[in-house]
Symmetry: C2
Subunit: 425 residues, 2 copies
Amino acid sequence: MTAVGDAPRTFTGWVGVTNRRITLVTESAADAEAFRAEHPDVREIDCRGRLLMPGLVNTHCHAAMTLQRSYADDISLMAWLNDYIWPFESKQTPDEVVLGLTLGVVEMLLGGITSFVDMYYFEDRCVAPVEQLGIRAVLGCNFFDSNIDEVFPQIERAVEQASAGSGRVRIAVAPHSPYTVSPENLLRGKALADRFDLPLMTHIAETRDEMRIVRERYGCTPVEHLDRLGLLDSRCIGAHCVHVTDSDIATLAARGVTVSHNPQSNMKISSGVAPVEKFRAAGAVVTLGTDGTCSNNDLDLFEELRTATFLQKSATGDPTALPACEALRMATANGARAMGYADGELGVIREGALADLIVVDLQKPHLQPIHNLVSNIVYCGKAADVDTVMVDGRILVENRRLAGVDLPALYDAVGRAVRRITTGK
Amino acid sequence: MTAVGDAPRTFTGWVGVTNRRITLVTESAADAEAFRAEHPDVREIDCRGRLLMPGLVNTHCHAAMTLQRSYADDISLMAWLNDYIWPFESKQTPDEVVLGLTLGVVEMLLGGITSFVDMYYFEDRCVAPVEQLGIRAVLGCNFFDSNIDEVFPQIERAVEQASAGSGRVRIAVAPHSPYTVSPENLLRGKALADRFDLPLMTHIAETRDEMRIVRERYGCTPVEHLDRLGLLDSRCIGAHCVHVTDSDIATLAARGVTVSHNPQSNMKISSGVAPVEKFRAAGAVVTLGTDGTCSNNDLDLFEELRTATFLQKSATGDPTALPACEALRMATANGARAMGYADGELGVIREGALADLIVVDLQKPHLQPIHNLVSNIVYCGKAADVDTVMVDGRILVENRRLAGVDLPALYDAVGRAVRRITTGK
């Protein structure tokens, strides 16, 4: 068994899990034997020829948008929103949102994502299904000025449900963005987050249009605007952060904001290139997200890992930019911090950490030979190489099969839902 | 059964293959019944819930470099070449090159690549193994000024072997580049290609350094240099073509040169962004390649499809740039033309075309729902979704298993070879 820790160090040894946590990490056969003796009922998984590593953390997505996967591609942003996305969303029921979220979670789990940060509607309806599916999540309740009074009671309900659950599901307050939510409502969101001790997430500086609108309205950048309102702190997750000045970068780093970098989405909808290397140099915590399946079009963090490195190397002209090991840290330990976990508690293989682990099958032509395991994972690893997924000490995927979900029935239900939404039939 | 033609039109119907060619494409059950009656021994494959499409064509790779996969990443170009790649290559034997090529072909076939254009050493030793593996190939015999007198006899031998074979393997003359091969030797290469009626392939305008060197030596761009020497015509494949002027683009289009765009390699080694949209506007034939596994690090054309569209959208700032259907054409019909096949002969589903076909399993969470099949394939499709691969009417991969190759033994042999090369043991 070989493991990638946050160093990222690789080693051959044993990892033991009891209850929800990693309680043994050792290269000593004697330690492993002692663990076996102490836990005679423990189930052993032979990982020879495979890699045990921390599960991946997707820090920005709109999971329910799987319903709109490939619904509107290769068109301009405004036509995309006005003619496709918004009309579609206005027609879907809460049950259909739960269905889309379920498909998204299934896709993520099968691809080695053990935690995700979501941002969508009807998140109060999603707490129970997410608990049932077994993944770890921060569910961000998305609001605009137009629906804030509907969403706030949902947030309160969601918090209540989550606090009665396993602890794997947390709730966040998620104003859509500084250009679509008024300063007054951003402040109401922040007050609600503080009242329930919740993280706050929002899209920040995603597009050039956003820069122009915020500049016209408030005479500053989106980051300056949010900072003046007091929204930026270590409980804040900012998705995208593409169009930022050097001063914005310093501000985001100083406030401890987590940046969720979504390279494939940024490329596909021509948003620009986030200055990840500048963020890292400034000491900001950068993480990785897939964004929604309308703008990607899948929920595959292995691809984001690779694209993040490729895009920084391409945009900076420096082939040493964002090395593989740093991308891996973004997708694991840094992501865990965005989720609100303390250092060493999640996203690492360390005694005491929560047992969110995945096993990658290395016996694939594209993963041979093995000169450098981290390079192989980041530059060649695929979602389909993950054969086992454990969250909170519980095995959810084994031999690429997700227990407890009838996939053909799910695809049928999703097909019926999108037909109803798009054709009324 | 649903198929993507070069339109790309999708339809539900039947495709019949006899001998090496597609001899039936129909939506009529009666036609299918007549075909069955005429060919009572035909084996039927039920593709319901799956997609039948043309196999993918990888127009630029160095397949044997799988041995160097992840051997040297995240370092500068000159250190990469001087300290890693060239010392490694100087130590490998022809048998080890064949082993690396075998691993590369296995990876490509399992990922739905049915044809590839290679460029490496000892290609005369690779003809028989490639015939045996069943893939279609153009094997380009790579030479520099330093080894031209060794390589030319290899080219003659390779031509002889290929002409005695199935017809699936063709040979090409492959001078490394306009900055590493003298004008005199480029002309010798062109004369040899003309003598045997072979395609000629070379790297063109890959890096800024190449631009500078060619400008200093010859006072012009790499494209102008090659054009003056008479190397540019419809039998020429130019890999990369990143640093080109508008006039270069017009020249490449006018001469009918096939451009092999390698987006992931260009990004990873910070080469720049090839102006694919300008090439397309100028009427040039653009195709897709993976490049070698040192600079990618896999041979996955589904990823190149996606990255090609993302990169053009990102670099041009236009989300409508390089739509999914055009990327798919690059990876199929255009690639076939680069291989030297006439329009309609390969890379399409059409009666009379060679039967290089793949079947993609659509019953995967990341491929559901299906609003748009082409978008799903280009933006979400994975190499691992390919379950069946046919080349020249012969099924090579079925249920994701490649017949006739012992994968564990291959991985072992590759592991031993790279250990010997890197440690001498």
